[in-house]
Symmetry: C2
Subunit: 314 residues, 2 copies
DNA sequence: TCATTTTGTTGCCGAAAAGGCAACGGTCCG
DNA sequence: CGGACCGTTGCCTTTTCGGCAACAAAATGA
């Protein structure tokens, strides 16, 4: 089974061996056959791919580029066939996603449902964690895709997409702050604050926001689940600090109110899609990553604060 | 000219049209020919690529994956041919690099020389700038590759590689501090400091380091060129704060001394190689990026398998 | 309901491409 | 000089590919 032109395979082997005859031997064909493919390739491309030396062939500059491309294609091909083999055999390809809790409530389930319809045989493995562990899972290959908040730039990780999320105060509709038109951090001082646990707090947008101000909140509780935080807020126990995505569903049903913080030094809440830098993604994963990207873009269509760019680029 | 198997081209067109005959028409071949290629492909892969409907063909899950891959290959192919065309025509392919000043002294020239030997027809366009402008150039496509320090995670940018650089105090060998075994930030207070200009200072490792301490340096000068900073330091006018890469050559010749700062809250100096997230790199660029990556890894051979945590981006 | 259209599919045959074999003209090395 | 190795070319066979016509099945239209 081979998806690439035979001439490309021949080319790769000749480049590897540095000799037509040796390559021909390894390919189990006559040297003349290999030679003709190479000559034809060069003719069609209009560029010599090898320099002819008395002792054999050496890659030309153009040939080096070509070789690089072909090797990449061969990797793609292997991966493709592997995935197809999975589909034929066990009947499913596996996509492993490591994500923060925020997405597991609404966005990810919706997305995966759509994906499942397009690719019925794909199986998902979802793990929820904090940014640090997510990055580690992606780096070690335990996960194919990672979604995390405000990650540090890191070796071994490729950041495929970043979206700014609205970050602000969250409260029940009957909470006094819900009446106010604009809310600033200092306004929240006088109400009990529902905070994340120390573990989740570390490195969070909230921590970085507080670091830039000298406001002391009056903590009511520290929870290690966003679900808990939301429940407490819904029960009118105090103010929480979350991003819009965390409470997408509650916003729809009017169970919670979101008030963007109007302070100047508000830290950015950046949702980032990432994958292992050194691996080219398995196909199913690449497709899902694509959809995830679009979904992320759909969250916050406003395109400000980022690097400006003329529209219209594929 | 075509580098991919004809069956893949046929497949793509059939998938696009949803019908053998329509595809055949657009391909200017008989429907039977197209059909045979598809059947052969499916036979060899062992997986049906289409479901047969009374009105035509629709992609199966496996077919969708295949289509995705083929489209990617077609993009690669176009790009490949374009690059080859450049080589054949004007005689050179162009690689545009936007970099910080640190690399232009030693590392980049060395690298480019080696690259030039492998690919004699490649031409370079080098622009030096600050992290912010570098990211912008990469995002807009003005540059193919960017090398910058401590970049914020940004949409449209893919970070291909990140390396920690040693950051510390730099002085002439005859400077009093050069005698000391360990140097801390507070030790530098009493000597004139050679600082970068406000423009360069903004967002720099030095700024972030100072922000974590309450030490006031006694500035002697603010320069907008690292070259100037180094010259002043060499002339024993004071202490500078640079990373190892900045003074690679001077270290070799013993003209300057590097003292890593031993403070606790020292900020990381992270050198990052990046490219436009949405573009697959032109081939020559990809190859150069690869070499750059290896060179970057060579700088700081300590293999920090751990993921560094660096909170607080501007 | 029946004819028509549209679909994918298959057998047959000629055309084109690829491969095998042997020979030729080089260069290098002993 | 003679062998060893190289890429290349001419001649021939084998394989593959494509076009044409015909077929069965399903949907469409009157």
């Amino acid at each position: 089974m081979q998806l690439l032109l035979t001439s490309l395979r021949y080319f790769e082997e000749v480049a590897r061996q540095g000799s037509l005859r040796k390559a021909a031997e390894r390919l189990h064909v006559a040297a003349s056959a290999v030679n003709r493919q190479i000559l034809k390739l060069e003719g069609e491309l209009g560029v010599p791919l090898f320099e002819r030396l008395p002792r054999g062939l050496r890659l030309s500059p153009a040939g080096e580029l070509m070789l690089y491309q072909i090797r990449q294609w061969q990797r793609d091909e292997r991966q493709m066939l592997e995935t197809l083999g999975d589909i034929r055999g066990t009947g499913c390809a596996e996509v492993r996603i490591a994500t923060i809790e925020s997405l597991t409530d609404q966005l990810l389930p919706t997305l995966l449902r759509g994906f499942k319809e397009r690719f019925p045989r794909v199986r998902f493995v979802l793990t929820t964690g904090l940014t640090e562990t997510i990055l580690e899972q992606v780096a070690t290959g335990e996960a194919d895709i990672g979604i995390c908040m405000n990650p540090p730039v890191t070796r071994r990780i490729r950041f495929d997409q970043a979206v700014e999320l609205g970050f602000g105060a969250v409260m029940a509709p009957s909470h006094p702050l819900a009446e106010k038109e604009t809310v600033r951090l200092r306004d929240c001082r006088h109400y009990p604050a529902i905070l994340p646990s120390a573990e989740m707090f570390h490195g969070s947008t909230l921590e970085r926001t507080l670091a830039h101000s000298d406001i002391d909140l009056t903590p009511l509780a520290g929870c290690n689940r966003i679900l808990t935080i939301k429940s407490l807020a819904r029960a009118r126990l105090g103010v929480a600090f979350l991003n819009k995505l965390d409470i997408a569903r509650e916003l729809e049903h009017g169970e919670l109110v979101f008030k963007p913080l109007q302070d100047r030094n508000i830290a950015k809440a950046q949702l980032v899609l990432c994958s292992a830098a050194e691996r080219s993604l398995p196909l199913a994963v690449a497709v899902l990553a694509e959809e995830l990207r679009e979904a992320l873009l759909g969250i916050e269509p406003k395109d400000d604060g980022d690097i400006p760019r003329a529209p219209g680029d594929a």
